[in-house]
Symmetry: C2
Subunit: 127 residues, 2 copies
Amino acid sequence: MSGQTAKTISEREYSISDLAKEFGITSRSIRHYEDEKLICPERRGVHRIYSARDRVRLQLILRGKRLGFSLAEIREIIDLYDLPEGKQKQAKLLVELIQKRRDALLQQRKDIEHMLKELDMLEQKLD
Amino acid sequence: MSGQTAKTISEREYSISDLAKEFGITSRSIRHYEDEKLICPERRGVHRIYSARDRVRLQLILRGKRLGFSLAEIREIIDLYDLPEGKQKQAKLLVELIQKRRDALLQQRKDIEHMLKELDMLEQKLD
DNA sequence: CAGCAAGTTTACGTTTGCGTAAAGGTAAGG
DNA sequence: CCTTACCTTTACGCAAACGTAAACTTGCTG
């Protein structure tokens, strides 16, 4: 694992393969997410160093993927989390985006409930 | 709309563009699903005639898509619904499939709850 | 029956999301 | 210094899921 000076637990650093192993994906994928501007790790020399924050971003990416969003959409979504804390000038625009996301998610939740019920019925049908 | 002899409501027939319009997709997509063996409408001459059952299949396809499944996976899933009613010889295999699906769906549901919560927090952050 | 919208097949094009070499740089241990 | 393990960039490849154009047929409709 990446050498660390044991300060705060939140200051852990990760190599690309650390994260790849942890999340069961390839390094190639992680680099691809970077190409697509979804994540942007620090560089120590030429090597990528991932922070705890970066790790969270990666989790968000993977969650988005499980939900069927495209990488471009996922970028939109996680960009919402990185508001400059002061600039809510585009707040209205953001709220719209959020609303659209929520609608999509609520629809998906319905879809899932449907499918789960139908799977139950199927299973019962098999005595 | 497609001419119909007004028998039972469940005997309605649909043209390819009827369904395309209703579900907001292109005819090309529907034909593609047919190429991929996801749906198989009756033919009257060379034209495709879709039954109410076909319509339901299409709904299932689109639901699967919203959930991020590939067309191949969706075919697996809807094939589950078309059991020959008597042949549960492969029942064990089916139950496994169902279990896998359910696990994936439960994970997705978690993902959705997470995202919804985070969207709520984001919205509040915008005072 | 002529016209026109809507349907059909065939087939090549495009985008997304990585896989997979190729060709080499870097850091730590022995 | 040399090996070994891991990292890097560059770039071509590929499957999935349609888009799109071409060229033709069908079948109402005036």
